[in-house]
């Protein structure tokens, strides 16, 4: 167990390093960041001087080392547009994204888990068919279109909910539904599959044969084992949620990190772009690590590997 944890931890640190490297490379691949930072009256001399002052004329590996050292201390540079520390800007927007992501995940789980369970238990029923349809449809429809359709129906036509932005009552509803639809579809589908698989396993049949009540078998045996793939899939879909925030926040003008990243990209504000990608990727890696630990706790078989 300890060996597993230590191994995963080392891998996680390696991932973080590679994330930083990727982000650093991205920032330096587009040509001259210095030109973007100077006022339009700058001369070639000014640019050369600034380049030297910022250390952008040093060899890349040294710049990367510098970048890492600063990053670990929390200094991710200054946004070119906002003229404020990039990390501060990212942290300011985190609550909005966290709120949206958690709400989306909640909606996804609360709908998908009962749906997956019911459709596994009652195969062939209308509930099963409905779940299946929603699964396929939810995984195929582009989130930005769903968001726009929801806006048209609920905000423009019916005037029930706010169209965009955060801060009004019920602002969270449409964006959370939009973001949560894909995970909802995926989790329901995976849960159904794994429940079906588990249902036919020997030990379940044995439990029934022993005369255990339906409910006991379900909860004690089936669910615990069925939960494993659910945790896995939650981990995977969590990734799609983080990625999905970029699009959902864009459609709903939600003031979160995803929208900040997009803005930084449009503005060619590289320090900010680097900071957002670095922070989001790091959080992602860390949460994956935590979910890995959870996975091990649920499935003793893994520990023995």
């Amino acid at each position: 167990m300890i060996r597993f944890v230590v191994r995963r931890l080392l891998v996680t640190i390696l991932m973080l390093f590679l994330v930083a490297l990727t982000v650093f490379m991205l920032g330096h691949l587009t040509g001259d960041p210095v030109r973007l930072m100077v006022p339009d009256t700058a001369t070639e001399e000014d640019i050369a001087t600034l380049r030297q002052t910022l250390g952008l004329d040093r060899p890349l590996p040294i710049q990367f080392g510098d970048f890492l050292i600063h990053a670990v201390q929390g200094d991710l540079g200054s946004s070119l547009r906002y003229r404020q520390p990039a990390l501060t800007l990212v942290i300011e927007r985190m609550p909005a994204t966290a709120e949206l992501s958690l709400a989306a995940m909640l909606i996804a789980l609360v709908v998908a888990i009962p749906a997956g369970l019911i459709s596994a238990r009652k195969r062939g029923s209308w509930a099963d068919a409905l779940t299946s349809v929603i699964s396929v449809v939810g995984q195929s429809m582009p989130a930005f279109w769903i968001g726009i359709m929801l806006i048209i129906i609920f905000a423009v036509q019916l005037r029930l909910l706010p169209a965009t932005g955060r801060g009004e009552t019920f602002s969270l509803v449409l964006p959370a539904i939009t973001l949560g639809l894909w995970p909802m579809a995926r989790i329901a589908r995976v849960l159904r599959s794994s429940m079906l698989e588990v249902m036919h396993e020997d030990y379940v049949r044995t439990a029934y044969a022993k005369g255990l009540a339906d409910k006991t078998v379900l909860v004690r045996h089936q669910m615990r084992n069925a939960l494993i793939p659910v945790v896995t899939v939650t981990a995977l879909t969590f990734g799609s949620i983080l990625g999905g925030t970029v699009i959902t926040e864009s459609v709903f003008a939600w003031p979160g990190v995803g929208r900040l990243a997009l803005e930084a990209i449009y503005n060619r504000d590289f320090p900010l772009m680097q900071a957002t990608v670095l922070v989001v990727a790091s959080i992602f890696v860390v949460i994956n690590f935590i979910l890995d630990l959870l996975y091990v706790w649920l499935d003793p078989r893994i520990r023995l590997r």
Binding site: P39, I151, A163, G165, E168, L172, V173, K215, A253
Partner: protein
Amino acid sequence: MTRRALATLVATIFALSVCAPASTGGGPQSSPKPKEITVLQSADIKTFDPSMAFGSHELNVQAHVFDGLAAIDPELNQKEWLATSWKMLTTTTWEVKLRENVKFHNGDTMTADDVVESFKYLTREEASARANLQGWATVEKVDDKTLKITTKAPDIRFFGELTSMIVMPARVLRSNPASLADKPIGTGPYTLTEWAKGERIVMAANSNYWGAKPKITKVTWKGVPEASARIAALQAGQADLVVNVPPESVTVLSSSANLRVDSVHSLRNITLIFDARVAPFKDVRVRQALNYAIDKESIIRNILGGRGAVQATPSYERTPNHNASVKPYPYDPEKAKQLLRDAGYPNGFEVEFHHPTGRWIKDVEVTQAIAGMLEKVGVKTKLSTGEYTAFFNTWATGAYKGMTMIGTLNQYDADQVFQLFLYSKGRWGMYVGADPKIDQLYEAQNTELDAAKRKQILAEMEQYVSDQAYWAFLYFQDDVFGLNKKLKWRAPSNEKIWLWEADLES
């Protein structure tokens, strides 16, 4: 899972998703007494620091917190503001008297020291506002209420510079100027009470304001880039004033019981600036050809819903010294093709076309419409865009080839645009490629003190620039605002939203 458990679960989600957002605050206003409004602009502001201000939306918000020495109001009248008088002592020195008993939001009293420090801050190397005050050499304190300002040359733009001279507290400038970005301390009619970045800015009326106390007690500003979202918010009662109402929504709003639309001719003109330094735009025939190839009337009629005026010269109809006798280029694609043939491009050519996205009304659509029109005379365009500030800053370095869509805002005098865009030593005049006639005319009128002679020179300049077609003249747009009928406010033609003069009926 039992059915009951399932039902409880379902009930819980609904409860949670309904309760959670309520805790993020901002419910609809219920009490009628305090006068509060919400204003939606098309972009979010980035900073409250006046030295870094860019874009009219940012200036609008900052203008409620900070004051300049003078001001130009929405009707284009010149107003004394923090300065009560200014007097020319010599051709390059001025004496300015300051208003008494003006207090900053932190309690400090405004004196000449604050102006001196503010000038230093606004003209430092990294300040984007630096160029606004480039005509001034020094600002010196004579006494607490008097300043002596020297200019680098005889300055006909002095009033404009007075309006850009924003006064910030010396105490803050000396200790922590960076704090002004999100904790602004000014002398303005409102104070900043809350800034949830990316969400909203909330201001409260300043009870110690030196001028007439604002009637509206609380203003909430938001940046909503999508026009449909702004309209939807207005219709739902979540906003009281929104900018840039698209033509398609005008009828819907006008016919609504509690909303109205206010539209004005704006000073903002949209134009295409050619890179005349190199081929193909070095040839005047090519430039003229493109002017003939664009059907401006159709663009105004169809895309802008009729809300716009065809542009003939760089200056606006009501700007002083505007030459009203210059005619705009008519739509004549045959003539355009002929001119292109004459210039040696019988098969047209390909050119870069740079444009911003979402900065002005329907800018992307207008760009695409123009691209389509130019295609018809054989000119193929390669479109390129970016976020406005980065886009403009790059253009400003002289880097963009081909042609660029620029919106100029011309307020004080017909020569203002020349100074910035056409004079070879002007701020962005490099694209003209140095036309000696323009330079000579410009320098002549710049030092001409006789008003009538100056008007003549400027008239000649306007006709010349039109003939030389350094720009593809397009149109002056109308600014269309959507507002709550209870809001008593008049739309400005210079994009300035002044809310301290507005009132809300109950």
